[in-house]
Subunit: 125 residues, 2 copies
């Protein structure tokens, strides 16, 4: 049902992680998850200012998961995803914080995100 | 003679910078320049453990310059390139240091680089 292979932290490859992050929608997804902790995938799509279909969003999530940036958990019929912050911090100290904190990386996405309320589905980590 | 447009720091786009860095050879180039300061392009190709033609290396340099990671200066018949560290630090604090310091990002390149002596062409910046 879910054939995405999530690498162990020891197998992370920096070029692949950077390629996974080199997209404004995937950056918006990562920033949303950094703020909100583990979230229902459908909620991320609705609230992170991502104007795309579920299918396209699934494609982006797959790229992030295959690189090691995100992990996914199925609960009942729902998929939840979260940032692998601890693994990323251990392998590439400071990298993900620098990317999350980068100012002005996509002003249009920032604005659209600002117009919706952000309700975490789960406690923040 | 050189039609590459190097963006002003204010126009840097994080996705483009990450995409430019998402390649082991370009990462090796950036790390070499971080250690050695401004360098003769031919010397970077020879000493950074990059097994490729001049033409392919020029292509990689172009991608890095167009994203804003590197700048180039012509002196006589020689091209010199250096990392735009100050501009990158100002726009994306901590990002380039995290990438330069990342351990084990390409062990094979690290090994080949270790076998040659590194002689800076110009004083380190």
């Amino acid at each position: 049902m879910d054939d995405v292979l999530e690498p162990a932290a020891a197998d992370f490859q920096l070029p692949r992680i950077l390629a996974a992050l080199a997209d404004p929608h995937r950056l918006a997804t990562v920033r949303y998850l950094a703020r909100n902790g583990e979230s229902w995938c459908t909620q991320v799509l609705q609230e992170a200012g991502l104007a795309m279909t579920k299918s396209t969003f699934s494609h982006h999530l797959r790229i992030l998961r295959e690189a090691g940036v995100l992990t996914k958990r199925i609960q009942g019929t729902k998929g939840f995803t979260k940032l692998r912050k601890d693994d990323l911090d251990r392998r590439f100290p400071g990298l993900i914080d620098a990317i999350i904190d980068a100012e002005n990386q996509n002003p249009s996405l920032e604005r659209s995100r600002g117009s919706v309320s952000l309700v975490p589905m789960t406690p923040r980590t």
